[in-house]
């Protein structure tokens, strides 16, 4: 019962947050100077007026906002001005799966690299190996993706010829994109894993196991690993949201048709409905992931429930 109440209140919070985000985005986008129809070559005043009338931008802003909300509730995100002939729904339906795909592969790469490195570093605590690995991870965190991505492209595509350097169709460039994201997040995951493994390894039951003469490897993987990995699991949700939302750089560097590119281009083009649409999708994604993590944690740990 308590859990159900908690989940419902978290859900209500998420929906309220979403409404705030949608509203703020709508008005912020409209406050920015310039509009979707402004071009380098002058658009005659009568044409500008015609276009504004055609797309309903001549109405008072509150009316436009009300219309926007009523469409949003029906799931209609409106047309995209930067991609005439496509609705924002279509643009997102094409772009989101690409970002999701990149994000999931990136996350898998991050786990494959990050978890073993973290466990290994924890096992070799305070040795040269540990310091070396953690320094590497620190560098990984500090190197922004816009440095790693072109570097990977230059080495693995142009020098070695193992992958294609750009494009989506019949191209292997997406792997370099996912690898960039994966490497970046593997550094976080390695540090996180090491920290929580050390936590667990210092606990009494581990000492008992060791004292009983259990083989060190068995202690590490059978006894410590389960507890040590829990924080990483909790981190997966936000990490995936971050991976998907943060893929703008790799999408640009490798020419991949994900949602990240639209996110930025919509803003620079003043493509109002696309701005609102992409922000809404990312907001839902992040809110949902956080909601999910909270629910799972509440389910795992009754203490969390009472805290709120």
């Amino acid at each position: 019962m308590k859990t159900a109440v908690y989940i419902l209140s978290r859900l209500a919070q998420s929906i309220f947050a979403l409404l705030c985000i949608v509203t703020i985005t709508f008005f912020l986008a409209r406050l920015a100077p310039g509009g979707p129809f402004l071009e380098e070559k002058a658009v005659p005043a009568h044409l500008m007026a015609q276009m504004n009338a055609k797309y309903g931008f001549d109405k008072p802003l509150p009316v436009q906002y009300a219309l926007y909300l009523s469409r949003l509730v029906r799931g209609d995100l409106g047309p995209s001005f930067g991609n005439k002939g496509f609705s924002v729904n279509e643009v997102i339906a094409e772009g989101f799966p690409v970002s999701l795909f990149l994000g999931i592969i990136g996350l898998i790469i991050a786990l494959i690299i990050g978890v073993p490195v973290g466990v290994f570093a924890a096992a070799k605590r305070n040795t040269a190996t540990d310091y070396g690995l953690m320094t590497l991870a620190m560098i990984g965190i500090c190197l922004p993706t816009f440095v790693i991505a072109p570097l990977l492209g230059e080495i693995f595509a142009l020098k070695l010829g193992w992958f294609d350097v750009a494009l989506w169709e019949d191209s292997t460039a997406w792997f370099l994109g996912a690898l960039t994201l994966g490497l970046y997040y593997s550094a976080y995951i390695a540090r996180l894993t090491r920290g929580s493994m050390l936590d667990v390894l210092s606990q009494d039951f581990i000492r008992t196991a060791k004292a009983k003469g259990v083989a060190p490897a068995k202690v590490l993987f059978k006894h410590a690993f389960r507890g040590g990995i829990t924080p990483v699991v909790a981190y997966l949700g936000p990490a995936l949201a971050g991976l998907i939302g943060g893929s703008f750089v790799v999408e640009t560097v490798f020419g991949l048709p994900g949602l990240g590119q639209h996110f930025i281009k919509a803003a620079t083009n003043r493509d109002y409905w696309l701005i609102n649409g992409t922000v809404t999708v990312f907001a839902i994604l992040i809110l949902f992931m956080n909601f999910l993590v909270d629910v799972i944690q509440a389910w795992l740990d009754p203490r969390t429930r009472s805290r709120d």
């Binding site: 920015a32 100077p33 310039g34 509009g35 129809f37 402004l38 071009e39 380098e40 070559k41 002058a42 005659p44 005043a45 009568h46 044409l47 015609q50 276009m51 055609k54 001005f81 930067g82 991609n83 005439k84 002939g85 496509f86 609705s87 643009v91 094409e94 772009g95 799966p97 795909f101 072109p150 492209g153 230059e154 595509a157 142009l158 010829g161 193992w162 294609d164 350097v165 750009a166 494009l167 989506w168 169709e169 019949d170 191209s171 292997t172 997406w174 792997f175 640009t252 560097v253 490798f254 020419g255 991949l256 048709p257 994900g258 590119q261 639209h262 281009k265 620079t268 083009n269 003043r270």
Partner: protein, 558 residues
Amino acid sequence: MLPLPRHQTQQGYLTHLTLLGVAVVTLLLSSGCKRESKVDIATREKILLLGNGAEPKALDPHLVSSTGDSNILRAMFEGLVTNHPSDDTIHEPGVAERWESNEDFSEWRFFLRKNAKWSNGDPVTAHDFVYSYNRILHPEMAGPYSSMLYFLKNGEKFNQGKIKDFAEVGVKAVNDFELLCTLESPTPFFPDVVKHTTWLPVHQPTIEKYGGMTDTFTDWQKPGNSVSNGPFELTDWRINAYVKVRRNPHYWDAENVKPNGINFYPIDNAFTEEKAFRNGLLHASYILPANLIPLYREREDPALRMEPYNGVYFYRCNTNQPPTDNADFRRALAYAINRETIVNFITKGNQQPAFGFTPPTKGGYVPPEVVSYDPEKARAFLKKAGYESGADVPEFTVIFNTSDDHKSIAVSIQDMWKKTLGIENVKIENQEWKVYMATVDEMRYDVSRLAWIGDYVDPTTFLGMWRTGDSNNRTGWGNSDFDRLYKESFFISEPKERYATLQEAESILLEELPILPVYWYTRVYLLHPDVENWNPLLLDNHPYKHIDLKAKAGGDGK
């Protein structure tokens, strides 16, 4: 030829994984031996792979204005007159077999070929053109570039809604194959004008199958729905990934169309595009970033192309307010700019220092040589403007849209004005693209940078904007002699004489200098040696049907 539905091309995640597997296996089996590049395969299959800048805003000729978008549209559609593969001044017959005008060039008759067909087999008739011009000019269409059709009599008034009946606009189908255009004023260069994207026809039944004539968000332009009359038809389109066109079997000259198709790739990051070219993924890049040009020049890379382009880079002065309301002060600024330095050390792509405004055309119009770098003259003008020294000049700001190249140019001009004229108080400020356009549109600036690319090869596309009150003028400058000479030029049939009148007009502009010309553009890009019959064109409108692909011995995509 059946176009794939869009979602079917989206399924490719598994394909991607499979591809990766194949790539890894091939790699293991053949390490050391070079695999055939995408370009090699495409050359064999005669598919042209082109980088094309930003994602197209639409594939509807009545809705677009950018050069990248018109590249795709020119592959898909054909106008009355079309582009020649090597000479911008030659008019190639398109849907019109031939054309003639009355004595004063105010009436043009286009005789359409009887075998021109839409990609669904329907004949292309004069009525299609009338319908199209009605559509783009219709107030409810709100076509952003519809002003290109103001050449037609009453075109502007109809577009503004002042005339309701399209029958009053100067375009008529005399019969199925004869189109009569009556113009607002005599226009000797009208065939140049109708080559522009905005004059392309659209297919009425297709437009109306998916919505009303003036509905802009319908599905007609999507693959499988789109019907066009050019050498190619649309087969596939994925946002930010590709636009593919393939042979239109119904095209009247299909047997002379060389490529089997074109893939346009919207890669708007110029560095990514350059890498894609190096990686053998493209036959031609759309542009090459200025800081990579020296690299290609040093190793004399045959792929590097630097060709004169129909555009000018300049600064606009706000003549409504001090200090730029003073013509002598503007002259001082103009003569203090060392344009050689800018093209040699900043833009680096063989751009030509602008001594006038309109870019010179070989065998055509050449602007009067007025502006130059002359420190003595610049200082003299500063004195004449009433400033004892540059330090007395009140503060003013140069604005430009955010870009490293614009910034480098602004910084170097700021420095030149300081060194030559002693002006200390020049601020430079970058603004985000749309903010910058709004600022310029509302004339809230002192000096702003701008590029102007001509729509057709004729000085009027550069000089028209400097008429008093023209919506693109945005300097507050106007001169009745300039306006008169410009207008007179339309009534002169003999090109030499007409050019002389326009030169006279342009010298007024260059004497008064509401603008500070900097350089004339070049197109700088990379072209694969397999591409044949791709010639330098001032407008860069390559008629793709003439372009051939042949593998060159030893060509490895590098």
